[in-house]
């Protein structure tokens, strides 16, 4: 690569709290690939669609503030959570197409000395790796091919829908037949599992208020992956990860099946193939036992 890639990283809340393994594996992967990362330490929560339900204007103001900090650095903002990606992109989209809303938001931001301009792109790390770093370049860095694993890609709603909003930022992925994660698994020499629920909802967002719905949706997806011989699932979204890794016992009871399926974050999978350390990959932070995957992935 002629020029070093440099991104502003919007960590989101989960990577700073319940999924530290997501942050450590992301930074380890960036380091191995020679991608420079500046963490946006000023960035707040994206609202995760729930603050948007309460007060949409306020959510736009706070998301615009986050984007301002990437704009100040003159960098593309990358996300490592599908819901951060969607909510940040929705604010960008709303402000860029509606000058009146942008002016109202900027009036508030001026009070803290900021201005939203609309100059930074917003991209999930998955698509930065695929569309900007390039899968061929990733292939060259693989030290531990994942050839002994059947890996079920779980795309997560907010990276692929609504496709019109994501546009080129997700490589124009088709939400009905997404391919990015599959091709990443291919590049790491893993075996992608084809199953109908790969682009479906995990139920995370109604975990509290509609628990049965949430459990059935997560269960349907995991059972489908298991029935298609998955050894593990991989997802670019820490919220999908939390729903599916943490609740396997209760989900199993609801759908009437024993479920024991490690659910990896996308950067953890890449980190395994690139030979990152056990601490960086952080499989010990999983509720469903996943530590064995690290030793299984080491070359014989």
């Amino acid at each position: 690569m002629s020029e070093q890639l440099h991104y502003a990283l919007f960590t989101g809340c989960t990577a700073k709290q319940s999924t530290p393994e997501l942050l450590s594996s992301t930074l380890a992967v960036a380091d191995k690939l020679g991608i420079k990362i500046t963490i946006l330490e000023e960035a707040s929560c994206c609202g995760a669609s729930h603050l948007q339900d309460f007060d949409e204007f306020l959510a736009h103001v706070l998301n615009a503030r986050n984007i301002c900090y990437a704009e100040k650095l003159g960098l593309t903002m990358i996300t490592i959570c599908n819901t951060c990606q969607l909510n940040s992109a929705m604010t960008k989209h709303a402000l860029d197409k509606d000058p009146e809303l942008k002016a109202r938001v900027n009036e508030k931001l001026a009070e803290v000395g900021l201005e939203y301009k609309g100059t930074s792109e917003i991209k999930h790390f998955l698509y930065a790796i695929i569309d900007e770093y390039g899968l061929d370049n990733v292939k060259d860095k693989v030290t531990n091919p994942l050839s002994s694993f059947n890996i079920a890609p779980f795309y997560g709603c907010h990276n692929i829908r609504p496709s019109e909003l994501h546009g080129s930022s997700n490589g124009n992925e088709n939400s009905y037949n997404p391919t990015s994660l599959d091709s990443l698994i291919d590049a790491l020499e893993g075996i992608p599992v084809d199953y109908a629920h790969k682009n479906k909802c995990c139920g995370f967002h109604v975990e509290l208020q509609a628990n049965h719905t949430s459990e059935v949706l997560a269960g349907n997806a995991m059972v489908d992956a298991i029935d298609n011989n998955a050894d593990m699932m991989v997802t670019p979204c820490p919220l999908c990860h939390l729903k599916m890794d943490t609740y396997q016992d209760s989900v199993g009871k609801v759908v009437g099946r024993d479920i024991a399926l490690p659910v990896l974050h996308m950067p953890q999978m890449v980190a395994l193939a690139l030979g990152c350390t056990e601490a960086e990959i952080g499989l010990k932070f999983h509720v469903q036992k996943a530590k064995q995957i690290f030793s299984e992935a080491q070359p014989a």
């Binding site: 809340c13 989960t14 709290q17 319940s18 530290p20 330490e41 000023e42 960035a43 707040s44 929560c45 609202g47 995760a48 669609s49 729930h50 603050l51 948007q52 339900d53 309460f54 007060d55 949409e56 204007f57 306020l58 103001v61 706070l62 969607l86 508030k108 931001l109 009070e111 803290v112 900021l114 709603c157 907010h158 829908r161 609504p162 019109e164 088709n174 939400s175 009905y176 037949n177 109908a196 479906k200 909802c201 139920g203 967002h205 109604v206 509290l208 208020q209 509609a210 628990n211 049965h212 719905t213 949430s214 949706l217 943490t246 016992d249 209760s250 010990k284 932070f285 999983h286 509720v287």
Partner: protein
């Protein structure tokens, strides 16, 4: 697959879901081989099956112009209006392997034809019409500004095809859920300045199980709508209007939305432990104890999390900006 000399048609074998509720115990899939031209629609393919292969193949069709909503089906799980969807486009997307299925297999009556009773029942439940006391011989016109009209314009384009309704995974699990089409209709009439039943609709759509709080936020409805209405955008607006008009009551769902600000004011981040405790209430926490214990064991959460007076949370830089912006921009209250 083969192309003719001009490369204008493509020979493909398509599969179709076949079922007759009166005679069949289980559905089956049958294959039909045909030439498909570049301008042909999915509706043309269904016509070919019926006219050239099997006259008993059944589907709904009427306007052929994307306005009656009768011909909505699914192709490889993707909701389409058969009279609007180019066939080659889908053949390209799915590597020439396409399967025609009804919008909802479990509601199939015959082949592509489904019983849409649940759709109409839920649509009717939100009073999808202007409720107003109108004089039989009014003295003046009821005027509406262009801005007021534009407020509901896109949601008024709904053709009740059911594409969003039958793509909604929440509705597949939760029979009470009114679904995206009903919510888009509720929004359309609630923001109509001539209407007087807005609060009633907000009440109907705020009830747990049937209302907007059971939406799983998958955006399948936005993706499925052939008229680009974006139902989930209307769902978000209904949520906001419930707070604006004082319809929202304090419960686990509304506290979950409003409670994001608690952590953000203190740390800039959502406080993951606090949001569960605040939404559920201390008594509701018993449901989460097993999970909390497992997460603690894995190091995902810590014993200090959520304990008052122990600050175990990371903080963002320039937190004062977020506090100030919340103070000056917040418009809604619970």
């Amino acid at each position: 697959m083969s192309a003719n000399s001009a490369g204008e048609t493509r020979k493909v074998t398509i599969k179709a879901f076949r079922f007759n509720a009166e005679t069949d115990y289980l559905p089956s899939y049958k294959s039909y081989t045909m030439e498909v031209g570049k301008d042909e629609l999915i509706l043309d393919l269904m016509n070919k099956i019926k006219w050239e292969h099997d006259g008993s193949f059944s589907y709904r069709r009427s306007c052929r112009h994307g306005i009656c909503g009768a011909c909505a089906i699914k192709v490889n799980g993707k909701a389409v209006l058969a009279c609007k969807q180019n066939a080659i486009e889908l053949l390209d997307l799915f590597d020439n392997e396409i399967t025609l299925e009804p919008s909802s297999k479990k509601r199939a009556v015959k082949d592509m034809i489904i019983d849409k009773g649940d759709f109409w029942e839920k649509h009717a439940a939100v009073k999808p019409y202007v409720v107003a006391d109108v004089e039989p011989r009014p003295e003046k016109e009821t005027k509406q500004s262009i801005a007021e009209f534009n407020n509901f314009l896109d949601s008024d384009l709904c053709i009740q095809c059911g594409a969003c309704h039958y793509s909604c995974p929440a509705l597949e699990v939760n029979d009470a859920f009114l679904g995206p089409a009903a919510f888009a209709a509720a929004y359309r009439f609630t923001v109509d300045t001539r209407d007087t039943a807005g609060k009633e609709r907000l009440q109907i759509t705020s009830e747990s199980a049937q209302g907007v709080w059971d939406c799983v936020k998958c955006f399948e409805c936005a993706e499925a709508c052939p008229k680009e209405i974006n139902p989930i955008e209307k769902i978000t607006k209904l949520h906001n209007m419930q707070f604006e008009q004082g319809v929202a009551v304090s419960n686990v769902a509304t506290r979950h939305a409003e409670g994001f600000l608690r952590g953000m004011k203190k740390h800039g981040f959502l406080d993951e432990a606090d949001i569960v405790v605040y939404s559920e209430g201390y008594l509701g926490m018993y449901k989460h104890l097993t999970t909390a214990f497992k997460m603690m064991k894995a190091g995902k959460i810590h014993w200090q999390d959520g304990v008052p007076f122990i600050d175990n949370m990371p903080k963002i830089k320039n937190l004062d900006e977020v506090q100030k912006l919340i103070e000056i921009s917040q418009t809604n209250k619970l």
